[in-house]
Subunit: 550 residues, 2 copies
Amino acid sequence: MEREGSTPRAEGLTRRALLAGIGAAGGAGAMYAAMGVLGLAPTEGTAAVGATGGTRAPAPYVPPQPSDFSLRGGRAATVLVLGAGVAGLASAYELGKAGYHCTVIEARDRVGGRSMTLRGGDSVTELPARAGAGEPGPAAAGAVQRVTFGDGTYFNSGPARIAQWMVTLDYCRELGVPLEVFVNNNASAYVFTAGMKAPVRARTARADAYGYISELLAKATDEGALDARLDDGDRERLLDFLSSFGEIGASYEYSGGDRRGYRVDPGVGPGTALGPPPALSDVLGEGLGRMLTMDAGYDQAMPMFQPVGGMDSIVRALAREVGAANIRTGTRVTGIMNRPGGVEVSVEGGAPLTADYCVAALPPHLLARIPGNLGAGVQAALGTPVPLSAGKLGLEYGRRWWEIEDRVYGGATETDLDLGHIWYPSYGFHTDRGLIVGYYNTGADAETYAALPHGDRLRRALAQGGMVHGRKYGANLLASASVAWTRQPHIEGAWVRWPSMNGFSLLQRPAGRVYFAGDWLTHLIAWQAGAFESARKVVTELHHRVLKEG
Amino acid sequence: MEREGSTPRAEGLTRRALLAGIGAAGGAGAMYAAMGVLGLAPTEGTAAVGATGGTRAPAPYVPPQPSDFSLRGGRAATVLVLGAGVAGLASAYELGKAGYHCTVIEARDRVGGRSMTLRGGDSVTELPARAGAGEPGPAAAGAVQRVTFGDGTYFNSGPARIAQWMVTLDYCRELGVPLEVFVNNNASAYVFTAGMKAPVRARTARADAYGYISELLAKATDEGALDARLDDGDRERLLDFLSSFGEIGASYEYSGGDRRGYRVDPGVGPGTALGPPPALSDVLGEGLGRMLTMDAGYDQAMPMFQPVGGMDSIVRALAREVGAANIRTGTRVTGIMNRPGGVEVSVEGGAPLTADYCVAALPPHLLARIPGNLGAGVQAALGTPVPLSAGKLGLEYGRRWWEIEDRVYGGATETDLDLGHIWYPSYGFHTDRGLIVGYYNTGADAETYAALPHGDRLRRALAQGGMVHGRKYGANLLASASVAWTRQPHIEGAWVRWPSMNGFSLLQRPAGRVYFAGDWLTHLIAWQAGAFESARKVVTELHHRVLKEG
């Protein structure tokens, strides 16, 4: 994350840079923090400042219930939900609890939106590559990948992990979707930055960094350089802390230790240590601090979780609850109109649909292109967020060499190559096959890959991954599939950034009878949790309106 | 871990303190390191120094095979294996691959030794409490706990986690034992030390510690206090590292950030931060460095693993391969004699057994008590290691409040209370019940609990755990079971320490036709991997001898 953003006077490009390219890829927390500092954080969220100036927790979410009507009169309304992604499905699911009749309209031929888990037999259709991101892409279909993964192999090409605090876990519990740990950080995986001659295990890089900063600080403290800041007790506590934190001796000299790892593991014999650490200059390579604290972020900390069998278990469970009969896939929306007493939604190749209300849960850049009568302000607001690039490549191997040879069970290798991260699978340990995510990248790196046909993406990723894992990275490969989110039809972006927050507040309110929902309307952009939180908010407001207006 | 041990001149008590009380509970790596420093590390292990002075990897393990005999003559011998713990079962399993006829003699009524997974219907019999640890306990049975856990609940009362590099994982693969992640470290779990008014989430403690040490070091660096140690490039790199490592601004002032966590989580709104960090003095509490780097140890780093369904899946699979007919439980060994051309083992209530060879895989303090003709040197060596205390308590709850209310999914709370650690379950997420390890402690803390009857252990642990989790810790409790390893019949210790290394080398060699195996003969004391490595070594040596002697 860029540090410039923490200066309150940051303007223009800096502000945009700040709000761009962060999210699921590297700490959304930095985004909220930055938004707060820049005065961008909206005040109409769920957290409110009480009369005494203290904070109070938001009211817990209460789903709509049929008994609400028997108590207060009125009846469940009809609702057209646009988009069968997480926000749309969750809206229909929650409204359905009180008997609302929802119809979900989805342009794609599958539900789930970006929560797309690929398996053998699936195909991935892409829009043609285009010159600049953010421009409306042609609707014509581009290349098609046929996915040939074996039984039991899946590839979460969109969201892949859930933090403990996120509401997504509550939906897993409610819907009976079983969970397992997603390994987001592995001490045995590698760090590889430009300054390094060869990849280094994360544990080694971490031990050396902790060791040297402890040595430097302990010596400075011991020599009195911090006497103005520390009293005797603090000095004592700090030295005690550094002693174990950095594994430095009583001389405060870092000279390595067992945390670095072993050349020959201990067993009957004591093992052979990796040897003394490299010099400080070689340890503190560019970007190392970010790589070693990746999992310190509030949204990235270990442990994280995934549904057993694929992330789409969640959207499948939602769709099951909503009911197949209430979901129309392959149906593109061509118009959204407020009419007296209701809404009218036009769709391609069919009669217009009408209902009492509409929840528009499409990406904002697609909504902005749909004709309607929502007003110039709303239209401008919808056109404000800019879709961003992210891409992933799934590599199915016939041998789990990363476990057997490298002793890496799950987790990620962090690089400053344009592949970004390499993820090792957190499922199927010790089975015959396994799927590595060969790249997960964002921004310009993702655009580089997005512009290529799949075969070239594969070749580029294998060449780069080979710099970490050597020849075996190209061997035993059975199948592959890649997704460039800007080229996915009816999605056209991984997530969005708000170059300014104009419009964010406006779209929290309905435009007539049309409500807007999605992660893009929250402080959890790029997370399924954002879509769920937004859906809960919209459902609550819509339901209260129906109860009030009868 | 005590730092005194890193001084090469450490003697006597310091040396003993060093080798005691570490192992699975807190970083065996420190032990090997210390042993090396103290000149205690044996040289006859698997790692060897080559002719050029460089290190070379040990030869990979090759299991005995029937074809070895057809190539070199000879025939598979008969072997009496004493003890059906991991070392004994693994020895019989590996020898069995080449057709050796092994009979495993086990005094307990179940296989697995310390790899004991408790479920509903099991019972735990304890020896009476005794005054001093290390003394032979009376053989008479003490109290019995009847375990009433519900279906699906299990309690790994012994080993519970496996590091990625350990050979234990290879046995899981070979035996078809499915694995899942064991959460050894959770940013959302708590740290609670004497200096703290209330428990703090590990993420918060870590963010504050990283923040302050980064602030102090960055300011000292910026002011030139480290100019003698750092050139301009290093200074630049260090400041860049600290900037992201400590989440400090350009002013190098730590003032908290999103890594600390939120009072109200981000959602539609930006969330409410926890607020500014406490003062440095309050952050650097005693022992915090150790707690925050628990998982930096080579044997503790995330991710770790566990067999699905209970740790005893491994010993059950081994026993299955060895064959029930070849395992005699409930049979206590009363004598071990080398005879011309073979061994004779006496057992309680039966005729003496004879075979070509014997693998003695009992704890050394029990072997030391068995009469025989192994020689005074061997007898003294067997009497050298001192059994240590460790204890665990399983608490089965009818509600997974730690997940639902505290948002803690697996991992451990680290305390300096005498309960040591509280572990949250890494299996059964979101199910109706769950099992917390209410204490896992060692040394004097474990002795405190070991001296109590189960009911008093439970009350003490609930009172202490309530200091972390409040009233709910005592509610919804369905069942409990505790194990004090010094009071387990035919085991009488959690693991051992070597007060001096005299005897360690001697027992690596057979006494006549009697071989010794166990974690206590390795540098992986307290880990199942030690037992496996020792078994492989003994099996290899025994097999080579049989091939040579015909």
